[in-house]
């Protein structure tokens, strides 16, 4: 079993977001970066599958060198080796093209990643990679069981879930409760230091989309407080003032 887990390097969920350089860049000052929470689920399930079935697990990140602490953390959690495609990606298409390029040279059985990155929230990289490789992609996957080359996948759909049986190779976008997040142990942290982290240059991709500027939402007006004793007046306000009923 050859497994590839793709991770993003993203601001922590509680990070305060702001922009610099005339609103053209994210202000990374004082922002804590983490492995994308959904990617962390994918990694945890990948490690479990590797432990049960044997094989190898490679972790892949498309991004700059400042992500290396997060890549090392993934190695400490249980990946065998890592690849970093050295680039500052501008969009999902670029990231997907890099992943597909690496994957096309390595014939992985399973390519796992989070359902979406929590910075740009596109949720399209797994679909792009699947199509670029000509293999099926499914997301968001909440449960994954393998028997030989057959996968049983539980996927969230609008208002419920669906169970599918599909054949490897597959690209899957993962979310909870596919596995419990893993915390690296001391031995993992020590061995991660010497595991290979290969840095490769990106393949060239045409500019599909180019980000121009960023902005923050307009500040919210004050909250109108209604005394609990007059709670029922809220409904009237929602109808006549807010006009949402």
């Amino acid at each position: 079993m050859k497994i590839l887990v793709c991770i993003t390097n993203v601001p922590d969920t509680t990070a305060k977001i702001s922009f610099t350089d005339n609103d053209t860049k994210l202000n990374k000052n004082g922002v804590q970066f983490i492995i994308g929470p959904y990617d962390d689920y994918a990694l945890a399930r990948g490690v479990e599958i590797k432990e049960q079935n044997g094989g190898s697990l490679t972790v892949l990140h498309v991004g700059e060198a400042d992500a290396e602490p997060q890549i090392r953390k993934a190695l400490a959690i249980g990946a065998d080796d890592a690849i970093r495609v050295n680039a500052d990606p501008q969009d999902s298409y670029f990231v997907a093209a890099q992943i597909a390029h690496i994957a096309s040279q390595n014939s992985y059985d399973l390519i796992l990643m989070g359902r979406e990155s929590i910075d740009y929230n596109s949720g399209v990289v797994h679909g792009l990679v699947g199509e670029m490789l000509g293999i099926p992609s499914y997301s968001p996957v909440m449960k994954l069981d393998l028997e030989g080359n057959n996968a049983t996948i539980t996927r969230e759909i609008d208002g419920g879930k669906e169970v599918l049986k599909a054949h490897l190779p597959l690209v899957l976008g993962c979310q909870e409760p596919i596995a419990e997040w893993k915390i690296p142990n001391m031995r993992g942290i020590m061995t991660a230091r010497t595991k290979p982290l290969n840095v490769v240059e990106p393949v060239s991709v045409d500019d599909m989309t180019v980000p121009q500027t960023y902005k923050l939402p307009a500040p919210k007006g004050a909250c109108k407080m209604i005394p609990a004793s007059e709670a029922e007046t809220l409904i009237k306000l929602l109808q006549t003032e807010a006009k949402v009923l």
Partner: protein, 324 residues
């Protein structure tokens, strides 16, 4: 040039979010001097599909092949590409959902098209094609120029305002469409589908009443459900509530759950952790009911009531009932 809009069907009806996509597509068509063409896959009546005309579509391509009755993002993406090629569409629009993103991604890879997901407003078409989308789960917005010849947009709910009173009476022409289906798109087998049919879907709901740990336990949910019924609302919950199994996982709203954008979001006994706010910040109006006046959620709310949810909810339900 035509704009192609994919509409999702739910039991043969076009989903509300997809009707928004049609209206959005029709506006883009008028901006760029094209016409709006709709693609529908799976079982639906002509009378239902013609409705797309009221939202500005000229024509609906309908592939009624029974193999497409069950949602299959691989085959659907193939059909979308074939429809785009047949119509010469340079702009393809879908509404944001798991299916929408999956189809959009696979179609974009096939067509070598730039893809932007989470679009919140109409594009700017003077000097390049620029769209604004929500990023950091709604904590910020990015304006992006799409450079590719073919463009795929996945739009968020409320990306366009629809005035139901001002809809046209025009019907769209429904045309049969027969995409070439590939065997390789049907290799997976569906074992089971577990869907609560009667429930209003959170993604589609105009009003959501949501509960947090302040509801004290699953056995205390009835007052919240009563208010939801009186308002015709869907019910949601915070992450701790779904983690505790008080409510099903598909009701979990937040950064790692479902992101919603209703007209009205009523939060009962939810303190408003940043991860929860990230899932609701697309809402037009937020009401927070909490016994703790310091709950951070009040800072993000339009209306607030400090007090006991179990006293307040029945009062609201009564007032909501007398509204009708």
């Amino acid at each position: 040039m035509s704009i192609l809009i994919y509409v999702e069907l739910d039991n043969g009806s076009i989903k509300k979010t997809s009707l928004e996509a049609v209206a959005y597509g029709a506006k883009v068509a008028s901006q760029t001097g094209g016409q709006a063409v709709v693609l529908a896959l799976g079982k639906a009546d002509n009378a239902e599909l013609e409705k797309a005309g009221q939202y500005g579509a000229v024509k609906v391509l309908h592939a009624a092949d029974a193999k497409l009755d069950h949602e299959n993002s691989l085959a659907y993406a193939d059909a979308l590409v074939q429809a785009a090629t047949q119509e010469g569409s340079k702009i393809i629009i879908l509404s944001k959902s798991g299916l929408g993103d999956a189809m959009a991604a696979r179609a974009a890879a096939k067509l070598k098209a730039g893809i932007v997901s989470g679009v919140t407003a109409l594009p700017e078409t003077d000097g390049g094609f620029k769209v604004t989308r929500a990023i950091f789960t709604g904590k910020a917005f990015a304006t992006t120029e799409i450079k590719s010849d073919i463009k795929v947009l996945v739009i968020r709910k409320n990306a366009i305002e629809i005035d139901e009173a001002a809809l046209s009476s025009a019907n769209a022409t429904v045309e049969a469409f027969q995409p070439a289906l590939r065997e390789s798109d049907f290799t997976a087998s569906v074992v089971s589908v577990d869907k609560a049919d009667s429930e209003l879907s959170l993604a589609e709901a105009g009003i959501i009443v949501s509960g947090g740990r302040g509801m004290k336990g699953p056995e205390h949910w009835q007052p919240l459900i009563d208010l939801a019924r009186a308002l015709g609302a869907a019910t949601g919950c915070s992450k701790p509530v779904s983690d505790l199994d008080w409510r099903p996982h598909h009701e979990h709203i937040g950064q790692t759950g479902i992101k919603v954008a209703p007209n009205l979001y009523i939060a009962c006994g939810i303190s408003g952790a940043i991860q929860h706010l990230a899932g609701v910040n697309g809402s037009k109006c937020i009401v927070v009911i909490n016994k703790d006046p310091e709950a951070p959620f009040f800072k993000a709310a339009d209306y607030g009531i400090v007090g006991d949810v179990f006293e307040i909810l029945p009062k609201l339900t009564e007032a909501a009932k007398s509204l009708k």
